[in-house]
Amino acid sequence: MTPLQACLLLSALLFAIGLAGALTRRNAILVLIGIELMLNAANINFIAFWHYGPQPSQTTGIMFAIFSIGVAAAEAAVGLAIILAAYRHSRTTDLDKMNSLKG
């Protein structure tokens, strides 16, 4: 297994664990955390390909990772604001209980 394949397998494992958490946890904030982990897994992919790729002097991989980190932070902020607003309405963060659009 080459080092590149090891990095890619690590990021695939991180993605899978984040996906499992996002699909199974009941607390809305922990679902958002699972989504953040998936974004981080994609970032690891970019940096791994930048390092082990043919032209590491080109900054494309780093640029993508930097923009991805910025956008993920913005998305986390907006997502948590939405969760707070939903909590204020339904008094719970349990996703299994938020199953009706009435209100």
Binding site: L9, L80, A85, T93, D96
Partner: protein, 166 residues
């Protein structure tokens, strides 16, 4: 696969598994912070210094704090102890395992190309130059996006007590 990489990988996977498995949400976020720090260490080992320090500053210093604030504001200690996994947890875990199997098979099936392993080191000046020359349009758009997200988050989470009082 050097020893450093194995230690960092173990740290990342342990932190992530703990983050998705603990009962107390605050413990989950603290384990997530360990995972983020491990990912930053991986970036530093792969030679991307700027991205590694940005990862610490943004994720550990801002996103984790945001998550703990949100948990604090929505967590009532008098809540009944509910299950932490939903009823259809098995479907979610099965899906994630299937995704991992497919991606892992695709990775291992690749012919092991002899990648050029010259040491990659990009200076901050190069990153700045490429941000200002090649990637100036994404930079401006991300600035606009961050402004919109900032204003949007404030508006969504703002207190509407004055509307309720009327």
């Amino acid at each position: 696969m050097t020893l450093t990489f194995l230690i960092i990988a173990f740290l990342i996977v342990a932190g992530t598994a703990a983050a998705m498995g603990f009962r107390n949400p605050i413990h989950c976020v603290l384990a997530l912070t360990v995972s983020f720090a491990g990912i930053a260490a991986l970036y530093l080992e792969l030679g991307a210094q700027f991205v590694g320090f940005t990862q610490i500053m943004v994720y550990v210093g801002a996103v984790a704090i945001l998550a703990v604030f949100a948990i604090m504001m929505t967590h009532r200690p008098g809540d009944p102890e509910t299950r932490i996994f939903s009823r259809n947890a098995f479907v979610g875990v099965f899906t994630a395992a299937a995704v991992f199997a497919v991606i892992g098979w695709a990775i291992l099936k690749q012919p092991a190309t002899s990648a050029a392993t010259q040491p990659a080191s990009v200076s901050v000046q190069q990153i700045g130059a490429s941000l200002m020359h090649d990637y100036v349009l994404p930079l401006e758009i991300v600035g606009l996006l961050l402004t919109a997200a900032l204003i949007g988050a404030v508006v969504i989470a703002m207190d509407r007590k004055e509307d309720n009082a009327k």
